[in-house]
Symmetry: C2
Subunit: 435 residues, 2 copies
Amino acid sequence: MPTKTCSVGLVGFGTIGAGVARILLENADQLRAKTGITIILKRICDLDITTDRGVAVSEGVLTTSLDDVIDDPEIEVVIELVGGLTVAKQIVLRAVAAGKSVVTANKALLAEEGRELYQAAHERGVPIAFEASVGGGIPVIAALRDGLIANDIQSIIGIVNGTCNYILTRMAAEGARYDDVLADAQRLGYAEADPALDVGGGDSAHKLAILAALGFAGDFGYDEIHVEGIQATDPIDIAYARELGYTLKLLAIGKRFGDELELRVHPTLLPDEHPLASVHDVFNAVCIRGSAVGDTMFYGRGAGQMPTASAVVADLVDILLGKAKHTFDRLRLFPGRTESLRVRPIGEVETRYYLRFAALDHPGVLARIAGEFGDHDISIASVMQKERHATQAVPLVILTHQATEAKLRRALAAIEPQGVTEGPPVVIRVEGEHE
Amino acid sequence: MPTKTCSVGLVGFGTIGAGVARILLENADQLRAKTGITIILKRICDLDITTDRGVAVSEGVLTTSLDDVIDDPEIEVVIELVGGLTVAKQIVLRAVAAGKSVVTANKALLAEEGRELYQAAHERGVPIAFEASVGGGIPVIAALRDGLIANDIQSIIGIVNGTCNYILTRMAAEGARYDDVLADAQRLGYAEADPALDVGGGDSAHKLAILAALGFAGDFGYDEIHVEGIQATDPIDIAYARELGYTLKLLAIGKRFGDELELRVHPTLLPDEHPLASVHDVFNAVCIRGSAVGDTMFYGRGAGQMPTASAVVADLVDILLGKAKHTFDRLRLFPGRTESLRVRPIGEVETRYYLRFAALDHPGVLARIAGEFGDHDISIASVMQKERHATQAVPLVILTHQATEAKLRRALAAIEPQGVTEGPPVVIRVEGEHE
């Protein structure tokens, strides 16, 4: 087999960067055997080049100057692992302008600035590869891009944030409170000191933006995604839902209906037998429904040093083998190649709902509530009234059939002034059908 | 985007062939939008060109002569969907000799004759693509080949036969007998009139051979795979295993330990929380463990017209975009590129075991059996003795810790002549650890 030598530059020597360096240095022989390419990690750029990352890097490789990477004509590929928006964007744009291919794991950057970066790369004739931006080492980007190319993608539904899944898994297993589990997750390193981007759903929305752009070819804005986090989750709802045969997950949901899209991230109840319902702890999984293939699911560790590094190196090999350039320019991510799809406002989204009212212990309360649902054309699928306590409101759990969010909100607005409930109900959307 | 036109020939116009034709004809515009290629299905060859397959084929496309495909210089790719060994092998070899790329879904052919075919294609400089041979439309071949390229593959464990999974799912749900469910599955079209290749494990072994060759780069013979089917499955063992927290599946198992491989297909108990344990009905799933990525799983419909056609068309696009040739020649499937790995005989394979003895109702029976296990250095993990009936043998279920098969067989041979059990025990291997 003919062999060749290729040089690459790594920008950002944090956890993932060290993992990538480890694979490239320690597995160089295996990679050469598999690809016929000797990959030279020529430069590693970071502001901090003194901390030991546990990887043996040759002298002269580390640099604090981005110019050493960008201006080196031998470096064919720049791996951007800086994260964040401003600096990372400049790194990618400079690399592209210098005619270098780019690998990035930066989901925030691609979700919010992807169009501009893809377009710049497209015009310069170099690929941007981003398998590592979603689902860690799970090759779900490749599946959407290549493996399922014969399909119209109908839906993409995923558990794409390991921190939230870990918290919800433990809340379900232990009946524990959100705050307590979050604190524990932070102690164990499964949640950041500032967990807002994870638990608020923003990270999941970033990943949904990337998957949906690729799968649906729609030119939508990141801010068109409806986002709710898990911060308000009460373990009592997890317990009640379990009695009804449902599991609570934070889902990223993209669906296509003709020329319209639904794009939303929120806590969601799934029937226990749904494949995503048994995805636990920090694991991620993405279900993709295609017109020919039907339902598929891709499962694995969605984050972490080596899983993410695995995806970065796969992208790098794809570029070095000359395959990425055959792929990237044909993606429907560029002006003139995208489709004009309208994102439905959340009010138009139709789902089933889990509702928990704090019902006052009066006769006829259920009749009043059920009556309002009937008047608003919302069918009730099941009702669960928990035992009554003399002195306090009674939990009344209602599962509805399909209804638009706007219709539901109107019904709830009509129930509220009747004085039969205490405060607004808990509302959790339900996806998936019971088998 | 520049566009080009490519002609392909389809050989074998059965269920899958009709599905491929349907995608190429009915989705031509979408495929052109995604790939920049106008794909012309120029010839369809089959012995039967009169039966209506529900696809509108232009006049002059159908032919009974393979020469019309092979001798047509415009046809760049031959899609082999004839199935079986002899004729299919000649079709592939002739296509390759004529310099045409090949797409095939023929798992028996690749498992048993793959080395020769891969080598012929390699020498001629054309790729053979075979995503559709395993897992229907699930892009698991691409994952092993590309997405996980940065990993040493440590294990490949899959449910890769939908017929067996359907039968076992129904036996578990209904407590039904194997024969009854098989008959029902045949009536419903989920099992062939001659189900031997499916229920006997041969089909799963074919798929394991393909996955293991790709994942482990070992040059082993198909007949080195240890194969047991599901025909002897008794619903009582499914029920007892469930009490212990286990689910019965027919698994294809490939593991690498240094320079040795385990390759086996047999009914297997999995802890209920294992991701494969909740793969039901005709669905397939393959778990791949990689050195960097950890545990991944790929899930979907493993058979059927459109899922399989989805994979065939993905392979076709990969070839037409010029990507497959970058990939195929670098696969470790050819002499000089494979590794010398020894396949462990089943006696050397170490697993845990579920054993069900028909114990005679005498005092000291458990002590005798447990004593023999102790003497043979096999640890017992748990014991379940079901209630006694005065007139018959008592079911005694034992779960062991890890032991080699040879050691287990010696212990069972020592127990047999002691006259405390009736007949040989049921033995089912156990994979996966309880969390």
